[in-house]
Symmetry: C4
């Protein structure tokens, strides 16, 4: 999210280019924050336009207006992209970075429409504009609460991967069992093993659409066992995140005492001496 290369010390000057760089790539000054918020509104607006265009009735009635907005957003994003390329020092590095590609992809489709007839084919590329949403997540960087959340999720990553592997194994086996039991029944939704695994995922995550549901007695018994197991299993990822989050939050200093000797803060509440310099608290 925070490309260190873009925070290079060479950008410490005061020229227009450098000031723009600070506004666009950092979010420390007031102007930079205004820029971020404006960008957030622009992105939200363009996302809304893409959404509304997909509704047949709205497209039919306000298609012209939406198209106009589409062009306004595209031009603004083009200016933003040009500015980014201009102010950044290592241009190729930005252009080929994840967000550089996202920035390009979010403006390209509208221009391509001018030349190509079936613009509908580029809907997938236009959707990439949504990826710009993620950019706003860098604002998250400056919120201490978000830091705790992100760290807890990072710490839980490998445990959640192990958990997911286990859940997938269970779902595969149970889906296959359900397929062997249910597939013989007329009009059953369990038409193949992948379909049964899809049902298994819908069930174990407690989503339960009901488009596929067991109809035989044995199928229902097995499904019941699976649901109850899933009910207990749902606790595992929660437990992982909670424990990691709890640990993460403990790191945040609770104690407000400041050492007279070295100025260190964040002592253990039971500490009698500064743990950094040995000075009596």
């Amino acid at each position: 999210m925070d490309n260190p290369a873009e925070r290079a010390p060479e950008h410490q000057g005061d020229s227009l280019k450098e000031r723009l760089w600070r506004i666009i790539f950092l979010s420390e000054s007031g102007a930079a924050r205004t820029f971020d918020v404006m960008l957030l509104w622009l992105i939200s607006g363009s996302v809304l336009v893409v959404m509304l265009e997909s509704v047949v009735e709205i497209e039919a009635r306000h298609g012209e207006l939406l198209h106009a907005f589409e062009w306004i957003f595209t031009i603004l994003f083009t200016i933003e992209y040009a500015l980014r390329v201009w102010v950044v020092r290592r241009k190729s590095r930005y252009v080929f970075s994840f967000f550089g590609i996202v920035d390009l992809l979010s403006i390209l489709p509208t221009y391509l429409e001018l030349f190509v007839a079936g613009s509908g084919h580029f809907i997938i590329i236009r959707i990439l504009r949504l990826l710009r949403m993620f950019r706003i997540l860098k604002m998250v960087h400056h919120m201490s609460d978000a830091n705790i959340l992100v760290n807890a999720l990072k710490a839980s990553r490998s445990k959640i991967a192990v958990f997911m592997f286990g859940v997938m194994s269970v779902v595969c086996i149970e889906g296959t069992l359900m397929y062997t039991i249910e597939s013989r029944v007329e009009g059953s939704g369990f038409t193949s093993i992948p379909q049964a695994i899809y049902w298994g995922i819908v069930t174990i995550t407690t989503v339960g659409y009901g488009d596929i549901a067991p109809v035989t007695v044995i199928g229902k018994v097995l499904a019941s066992v699976m649901m109850l197991t899933g009910f207990a299993i749902i606790a595992v990822p929660t437990g992982i995140v909670v424990a990691d989050l709890h640990h993460e939050m403990k790191q945040v200093p609770m104690d407000t005492r400041k050492c007279d000797g070295c100025g260190h803060e964040g002592h253990d509440s039971k500490a009698l001496f500064c743990k950094m310099c040995g000075h009596k608290l």
Copy 2:
């Protein structure tokens, strides 16, 4: 909930007005609590009447009776409103406060029915009577358990907001993907991006109505990934609240005894001697 202006020191006297003020606005004395409980029953009763009026069969058979009750409740609430306006010192402050407006809105519609024919149009206003339910929440103020809950929720607010923002971003992107995949299929429920986002929310929260469900193979695979991710994500708000609640509960002193020998606090509630110096507590 607890407007400090209404607890003004000028209300320390003993006249009828002041005694009524104490009964209506505070819930410390026995009379005040009786008033609160009576109000709770009145509100529950009036809510029940509004509910039953909405059931066509009951309205057809017992419409007259419900209408009578409606008027009884309206008159009682009118008296309550008049009393509140009378006893409170800064009248305009109460009248334009949130609960002042709620109190007014909960009696106005019934009177308006006398003059206007289509009373049905005011059902929304009449519903505001339900908002009076919240007033009873001030009773919560006096329960120590509720304090812990409310504080934990307050502490979690900004973290939950960050989390919600993240969930919404994920749902927008996944909804758009599902729309591009599923919308071409005949009879698909994914008729537009907003519809697909609605489906995304129904899925990620594990509600799963089943009114919209993926029908293509790729759609089902993507939905499966989304459900499993949501399964892990559901742990996050839980983790936040648990960690904050845990922290909140720790704040409550478990044992306030202080060792005379070494001044150590935080002893086990069953301890007889200081665990740090062996001095008798």
Copy 3:
């Protein structure tokens, strides 16, 4: 669960009646545990018979057999009831206790069938036999793990009540809003406010049957907000139980040191002196 009156010290003798009392009402000796396990099997069996009788096809084919089993279980439960009344000292106290009434109600219906034709009317009473299941929960008493669970739930009781009150208020208001929005649409499931509240509960608990689902755009937006809120709210009861359970488990001694002075165990892991007698550990 554990009526202290039945553990009266007068029952300390060694006669047949007293030995039987120990076997039936306590679960400390081997014979008593055998009795408890046998009772568990009997209850499970009789529950299974009631279940199978409700399945039309099985009743049609094996009705006679099930009826025979019904009588065997009834006679065995009658003997058990007679023994209980005989061995217990304060007979009226047992007979009018919760489990005394359950024991009586679980045998009465079968006898009543002899005299009354339409036995089907007593199905509700016969179901009370299921309540005997709860009696087995007294076995739980002797498992330390269950103690922790039960204590955590007891500690959470008032907080969960406050939480439930809050959830109900939210559901009432949201249900009413949904009713006003959705009820005008042809073929909507939101036919009345109580119906809308039922939908609200189905949604906020993430059950999501799909028998009632919003069809209007505003209805879907409101439902989405409600689901996301519910998603965050679901964390609250979990947080409550986790925090209480965590506290409960901490009470269980972690430290294995035993005081040389008084033999006390379960010291704080940081303790230097025995907290019971002041002896150095």
Copy 4:
């Protein structure tokens, strides 16, 4: 998972047989890990083939290819099985172990197809190949994160069993009540008590397919109470796992340094001085 008999000290030599044993049964050396990963891919591939064969359209078009792959996997698994039997010392012990039987069952069905016509009957046996997935779980053994998870689940086992027993009792009673209420209604899904219990499990686990849903007013009220209760109950297994996981994670030493001055342990990992006596660590 980890049969200690297979790790017998007799296998400490360096012959081909012994080296193969180390590669197949242990996963400590690089070659052994390569073998494990290759096996994981083979198993995944064979599982995929079984899955795809179950899809009617794919079987019709690529049946020949899938059949060929089926034979390749079977031959490779046969070689693996033969090697395992050859290198292991106590052959009968391996052959009759859980994974020995799984290994045999995963190759047998394909050979049986040569002799028996209706191979479809052996689909259940062929499914056992999926059980090989579990073998890969031994890789989990070497991940410290998985250890924490597995230990937390083991520690929670008895508490979750108690919880499941309680949930089943509640579901039985509520299912029976729903049956008595709903079964008289025309077209109700509650056709028998077992069916009602199935509904109860679908509901309390918040899966909510919607294939069976209450239609009477009393049924809906009871279902609402049940859902709200289940909503609070869902917190219990989570609480159990969280608390155990938290305990498990605390066991992992954070800092093993001991103060030379006072012997105090459990210092903050960043501390430089003992927080109890001020001595340099």
